[in-house]
């Protein structure tokens, strides 16, 4: 069965059969780790944080950009993780494809929402 899954016989709902997603999962993880540390340090330095401090932090362009890049990383990370979950537990190809498409649509929508949250204030 494994030998059947090559060339044009490859399953349409399989992974990318390569290093890309494996590596992206790790790179985005490190990015989120760095962001967590930056956020934590900013949070701890500010003392008693109110809207002034919180909003002020997110009002700076560099922090908006870092947040945006991290969230894009998060969404990609979530895509790889959720796809792996669908691949492990959902066997009918049609259902799996539907769930994968819904996951992508939802995560792309989240990109738009993130932009709105970050740049309208």
């Amino acid at each position: 069965m494994a030998n059947d899954n090559i060339g044009n016989h490859r399953m349409v709902v399989g992974a990318h059969y390569g290093l890309v997603d494996w590596l992206a999962q790790r790179v985005t993880a490190v990015l989120m780790l760095v962001y967590t540390i930056v956020l934590l340090v900013a949070f701890l330095l500010s003392g008693d944080i109110g809207y002034e401090g919180w909003g002020g932090l997110f009002a700076q362009q560099w922090f908006k950009l870092l947040t945006f890049a991290t969230f894009i990383g998060l969404f990609y990370h979530a895509w790889v993780g959720m796809r792996n979950i669908w691949m492990d537990y959902i066997k009918p190809i049609g259902v799996r494809l539907l769930l994968q498409v819904l996951t992508i649509v939802w995560l792309v929508a989240c990109v738009g929402w993130t932009i709105q949250i970050l740049w309208r204030m």
Binding site: A29, L33, Y51, A78, G81, I85, C110, W113, T114, I117
Partner: protein, 136 residues
């Protein structure tokens, strides 16, 4: 089970769902399945997280609204679950990255690092819980 009547010794083949209750999970698989569960949980609550972030940033009024909502005990409980999920996912993720670099792959070390992941994430979660529910 009854088919393997030839021998009295219990045979471990593919286990069924019912066997899971009797199966002793090694520490590595507990960390691993919790990594998956915490990830899926955070994905499911992504709309709530973005919504709360939005409320906390939009204006001073919405910030007060955010504070009001997050002071409700049930919301605090959900937030605590999210914080646990994040802490576990991060700790297990760091262990994962180290293992990718071939560090701590032998059985005793991986067992120790698994216990470390669980104890660090649970201790930090407990501290956040105390803070969240006003113990200090």
């Amino acid at each position: 089970m009854s088919e393997s009547g030839k021998t009295s010794k219990r045979q471990f083949r593919n286990i069924s769902l019912a066997d899971l209750t009797r199966y002793r999970f090694p520490i590595g698989s507990i960390v691993s399945i919790l990594h998956r569960i915490s990830g899926a949980f955070m994905f499911l609550l992504l709309p709530a997280i973005l919504w709360l972030l939005d409320k906390s940033l939009y204006s001073e009024i919405s910030f007060e609204y955010f504070k009001g909502i997050t002071s409700h005990w049930f919301v605090k409980l959900v937030l605590l679950a999210l914080i646990w999920a994040y802490l576990h996912h991060v700790c297990a993720g760091v262990r994962h990255l180290l293992m990718d670099m071939h560090m701590g792959l032998d059985k005793p070390t991986s067992k120790q690092s698994g216990i470390l992941v669980l104890s660090v994430s649970l201790t930090l979660t407990a501290l956040v819980a105390l803070k969240l529910f006003g113990a200090f």
